[in-house]
């Protein structure tokens, strides 16, 4: 028995036969509680996914995905949720488009330069504060700032009003980017810290500047890290409701604003996302159409789970690429 354990190499785990049965009662109770907690957690997750799956699939009609929503008490006539899906996609695109370059830049500065050191430490804690700030607070902050008349071009300003409306796709997207930013910074930082120093030194020894090293060596090497951060950030943006309710106008359909630059009208317009659609159709909102809420929640959950699986895959790929040493040979 012991010989086989030694052959298999050192292992922390003792063999089942050696344990538990001979323990004092208190320890066995502790072990039992551990098992109970672990099993409960797994069951809970399974129950949530199964329940949402069963409820969602039974309520979901394929046509919902392609129909515009309409305000109607009769649920057979209130349409689908094409507009909320559009809203979710558009908002996610805007949010990541802002967060990914900025987050990558900040992470690069923190790891590759990071001087003066006190400034770097302050920036780090600032990122941590954003990560810790509740999304409702970020939403309120966005509303305060973008209601200033100077920002009227991002939403619209009613004639005679002393404040801008402060609600549009760009504004909500900008606020959403703050949610994704810490995740991008964190993922890129981790990836940068894992890049071995001899790569940087080799590039510098060839006479390249640090800037060129970043562009030609480090950025390609941390691409999986950027992708992981992006996927995590997208998941966070898709799942958020507070910012949508406060900053997207929370109109049922996607509506473009009048006037302004062509092509910019949609971005200045208002709309809804899957999350705000669910909130609105739950008993807490006005709609009171739980069937539609379940169907939309199923689509939302599927999106979020898909993104998280993607993020995990990317992170794993990142790790193996770094240990295998193939990512930066290009």
């Amino acid at each position: 028995m012991h010989a086989s354990a030694e052959l298999a190499g050192p292992s922390r785990r003792t063999r089942p036969r050696d344990s538990a049965a001979s323990w004092p009662l208190a320890d066995r109770i502790g072990l039992g509680l551990c098992w109970a907690a672990g099993v409960t957690l797994t069951l809970l997750a399974t129950a949530i996914v199964l329940y949402m799956g069963v409820k969602g699939i039974s309520q979901l009609h394929l046509s919902y995905l392609f129909q515009h929503p309409t305000a109607d008490v009769d649920q057979s006539k209130s349409g689908g949720f094409l507009d909320p899906i559009e809203g979710t996609l558009l908002l996610t695109a805007i949010g990541t488009a802002i967060a990914v370059p900025i987050g990558t830049g900040v992470a690069l500065w923190l790891v590759e330069y990071g001087r003066p050191a006190p400034l770097a430490r302050t920036v780090e804690s600032a990122v941590e504060i954003i990560a810790g700030a509740p999304s409702i607070v970020i939403a309120v902050f966005g509303l305060v700032v973008f209601s200033q008349p100077a920002f009227a071009f991002l939403s619209f300003r009613a004639t005679g009003a002393d404040a801008a409306f402060g609600r549009s796709f760009v504004i909500a997207g900008a606020a959403m980017s703050l949610l994704a930013l810490p995740l991008v910074v964190g993922a890129v930082r981790e990836a940068l810290l894992q890049v071995p120093n001899h790569l940087r030194e080799a590039s510098l020894a060839l006479g390249k500047t640090v800037g060129a090293t970043i562009r030609r060596v480090l950025l390609p090497a941390v691409r999986p890290g950027i992708a992981t951060g992006t996927a995590l950030g997208m998941g966070r943006i898709i799942g958020d409701t507070a910012i949508v309710i406060l900053l997207l106008g929370n109109t049922l359909g996607t509506e473009s604003a009048d006037g302004g630059l062509p092509g910019f009208r949609l971005l200045r317009g208002t709309g809804s996302t899957l999350t705000s659609y669910i909130y609105g159709n739950s008993p807490a909102g006005e709609g009171g159409a739980p069937e539609k809420a379940y169907a939309a929640a199923f689509v939302l959950l599927a999106l979020v789970i898909a993104l998280n699986v993607l993020a995990t895959r990317l992170a794993r790929g990142n790790l193996s690429a770094l240990t295998g040493g193939a990512a930066w040979t290009r």
């Binding site: 072990l31 600032a126 504060i129 500047t209 309710i245 739950s282």
Partner: protein
């Protein structure tokens, strides 16, 4: 890397980006505080106290006349703060032992097959959007609580004062606990994994069994991480808005511990949920400023909690673990 001393465009550009981000955060704090100031200034420290009915006070603020000289700001926000503290505290109290046991199970006791499933399970629970938790709470759990736990007599007795439904302190804390448990499990199990093997082997070599080894060595060494987990979870629970707006009963009320078990069924309305509930009223300036004041309180407390989490982790760094 600090050996490179040639200033470059790349460094300046990236540095400017980082400084801009810093300026944004400072601006955010300052801006929200300035906008929120009238609400604090009119009430003084009594803002944080109790007195009167906060429902009618908020309504008066919303209905206040358009003339800036007659804006209403009178508010005693104690029931909101109390509701936030109650739901957060109960959720952490419920969640911490559960999360600690789950982390121990994942790291040490689960058979390899189950241990492999635990990671994705925790990530899944962390990724479920709060609106879905709220939906399950309001459509499944709230009616069940209303049917099985709320006595009709109690409901009728207190009807003139407070509406009792399924949503309330109990439901809010339970769903909140489910939402913060994954964060705590992730942090605690990370810390448990970083305990040096030699410490555990030393304990095992003395004939100490696996449970005691984990409990006496790992959990004890990971105490700073457990504290950090609690702080992070508290920050998350404080800021949760949508889910709480759906399941907390949406009536501003300070549950009375003297009501016995009914205490847990009484509705609350935490700060963040109040902002969501008032999201239609931002056009009324004094009302908007009052909501900004709620946001300012949340922002300051979450920033302080970030600081506390950082401080809580320092002892472990000193031991050379993460």
């Amino acid at each position: 890397m600090s050996g490179w001393r040639i200033p470059e465009r790349a460094e300046l550009g990236l540095g400017a980006l980082a400084v801009a981000l810093l300026a944004l955060i400072v601006g955010m704090l300052a801006f929200v505080l300035v906008q929120a100031w009238p609400s604090f200034a009119h009430n003084g420290l009594a803002w944080f106290g109790s007195g009167g009915n906060a429902n009618t006070q908020l309504n008066d603020i919303y209905q206040s006349p358009a003339d800036p000289h007659h804006y209403q700001y009178h508010l005693r926000a104690w029931p909101l703060l109390y509701g936030t503290a109650l739901s957060t505290g109960l959720a952490v109290l419920l969640g911490l032992p559960f999360a600690l046991l789950c982390a121990l199970f994942t790291v040490e006791f689960a058979p390899p097959g189950i241990a492999r499933v635990m990671g994705p399970t925790v990530r899944l629970l962390a990724a479920v959007p709060s609106v879905i938790y709220g939906l399950i709470g309001i459509l499944v759990l709230a009616p069940w609580i209303n049917d099985h736990l709320v006595s009709a007599k109690f409901k009728l007795d207190v009807k003139p004062v407070v509406p009792i439904g399924g949503g309330g302190l109990l439901l809010a804390s339970i769903v909140l606990a489910v939402m913060i448990v994954p964060i705590m499990i992730a942090i605690i199990s990370d810390a448990l994994r970083s305990i040096p093997r030699s410490w555990l082997e030393g304990s095992a070599a003395l004939g100490v069994n696996r449970w005691r080894t984990m409990w006496r060595i790992s959990v004890r060494a990971a105490r700073p991480a457990i504290a950090a987990a609690v702080v992070f979870a508290t920050a998350r629970a404080l800021g949760e808005a949508i889910m709480l707006a759906m399941v907390s009963g949406s009536f501003i009320f300070a549950p009375n511990p003297l009501d016995g078990l009914n205490f847990f069924l009484e509705p609350i309305q935490p700060l963040a949920a109040t902002i969501v509930a008032g999201s239609e009223g931002f056009s009324a300036k004094p009302f908007a400023q009052t909501l900004y004041a709620f946001a300012a309180v949340l922002l300051v407390s979450s920033a302080l909690l970030s600081l506390a989490a950082w401080a809580a982790r320092q002892p472990m760094r000193r031991m050379g673990l993460r």
